[in-house]
Symmetry: C2
Subunit: 335 residues, 2 copies
């Protein structure tokens, strides 16, 4: 990098507006100072590491910056809270050029702007690997946060959007060059790559589900099977999922054969969809589905029911039941 | 690591208390929920990366965890704010054992407890390098944050404690085994190592300096020369430092010859002291010095004066003046 740390901070300050509403002291001092809201504070942090969460060549700097913000927004959303302030700590190898770093910040700025979040401060360090660490401060009316622990037997299990496209994008990135190139010539191939590189956070959708009476909620970062097992464990309940109702992403259905993957398997066990998983009273599902479609154009799917006990089971279209294993779940295992 | 991510989170939850005052939802959900205070929010983040900020063998997991918290506390302190909530994002290689990770969390817990900070949440990821990223949320009465930009010509420049010991510890760690071992057999050698591994954050001291009328303040993380240049630039002023007044750490004075370093040079240009650098009206220095000694047993030293313009100069005991370069400053250069 041809810039010193101080030069980099000045360049960043030009990319990031420092006169945002609510921001009393912005980037460039020891810490940021912001005006508080009236609610409870909601706090989360998550980082992306090169070689684990991404490869330098497989995602643009802009998408990487935006994604680092969005995965944190998704956690704030899952509490039915409103995101307010973002902080960024970067570790960057010296061989990155300044333009790449500016593009990274541009991606963070654009994601913050899209969700009305103020990028309040940050820190830049050297490292051998790229690390993008984001912390987010949000706000929620007292007592209105939706945790993972409120699911009750009889609640329906719902998910927003469709599942498996990001896992399909990951499968595509692991194909040999010829297969990957053939996939990328198809609309479904590009859709899978975009799903992995440019996730959305369901901020408004989560607040709507909370108003509709959601009893528990979380975001789907590690796949339906694993994340549902966490929700069930936190709530002390079990679950029964109708496999044929799981909303598999269209692009994944179309590309599964080419990619050599099983679409329903990826939709249940693949991560990084950042859709919402929620439990709501049975009589609230229809209203929630209608309102979500009208307000956001987002589909809500009833995929099953919370049950007594701790067992998680799937039911296939032909009525076969099978235990749903949280990790490394394979829907063929009991076939 | 022999633990899965979920097992690790459960183990961490046993190390970290989840029923802290002010914490509504603690570790284990998508995000933490906390009760807000009445002041403005003060936000900061900083990360430590293996191979850049530390080597795995050169610092204990406990010290590393504590230091990752303290360097952030120091930034909150430098705004004259009170730290409240910490968030931790970790990236950990798989070959680390769970006991090491628990010790790391133990260090973070102990540092949080010492400063009455609630460890509110976090996230654990895999990586090839250890990354410890901490974000801190603090609080300050509206309008009372002390930034870097308030220094005015005529203000005295003061620093807390003594300088250069952490840089001495770094120099010691770079000695060959025989030299390092001989140094560690001396009290000064152990003092230098402890200064680097176990810094303190001057939280109460900063609030006292604010009450005494500090006009600008920051923490000394990158060395007096570089950090003073940032403060001067933010305030649009220059500075004149009396070299013979710079409070060089005793252990560094004693060990300098053995380590082959110049003590005053390290005290001026070495980083990681985490002492406070502040500017205050001349007539407030004596009171601040007395109160800081009485309340905290910490020395406050008047090292120079803020002047008009933008030049930073040093004055040696014999009256020789020299320009103070923010980076790679060498006090021999003009000798």
């Amino acid at each position: 990098m041809e810039l010193s740390e101080d030069e980099l901070i000045r360049a960043i300050t030009r990319v990031i507006s420092s006169s945002e509403p609510g921001l009393v002291v912005g980037i460039g001092d020891d810490a940021a100072v912001t005006e508080p809201g009236s609610g409870q504070l909601v706090l989360t942090t998550d980082l992306l590491v090169e070689g684990v969460h991404f490869e330098r060549g497989s995602i643009s700097a802009h998408d990487l910056g935006a994604k680092a913000v969005v995965v944190n927004l998704s956690d704030i959303a899952a509490m039915a809270a409103s995101p307010r302030y973002a902080l960024v700590a970067l570790a960057l190898p010296q061989d990155l050029d300044a333009a790449w770093v500016m593009e990274l910040y541009g991606g963070m700025r654009d994601a913050c702007a899209e969700y009305a979040v103020v990028l309040a401060g940050g820190d830049t360090n050297r490292s051998e690997l790229i690390v993008v660490s984001v912390a987010l401060v949000g706000e929620v009316a007292p007592g209105r946060a939706i945790t993972r622990s409120g699911a009750r037997a009889g609640n329906r299990i719902v998910v927003t959007g469709s599942l498996g496209a990001a896992a399909g994008g990951l499968a595509l990135s692991r194909q040999d060059a010829g297969n990957a190139s053939a996939a990328l010539s198809q609309p479904w191939g590009r859709a899978l790559v975009v799903a992995l590189a440019r996730p959305s956070a369901r901020v408004g959708e989560a607040q709507l589900l909370a108003r509709c009476g959601a009893t528990a909620m979380m975001d789907l970062s590690d796949g339906l099977a694993r994340d549902l097992s966490r929700l069930c464990q936190a709530s002390g309940v079990g679950a029964r999922i109708a496999l044929d109702r799981v909303p598999v992403a269209d692009a994944l259905v179309r590309g599964a054969e080419h990619l050599g993957v099983d679409a329903i398997d990826l939709a249940v066990s693949g991560g990084e969809d950042y859709e919402l998983l929620a439990t709501i009273p049975a009589d609230a599902v229809a209203t929630a589905r209608t309102e979500l479609a009208e307000a956001f154009g987002v589909q809500l799917t009833d995929v099953g029911q919370i049950v007594e006990g701790s067992a998680m089971r799937t039911v296939s279209a032909d009525g076969q039941e099978q235990q749903l294993e949280p990790a490394g779940w394979d829907h063929f295992a009991g076939g």
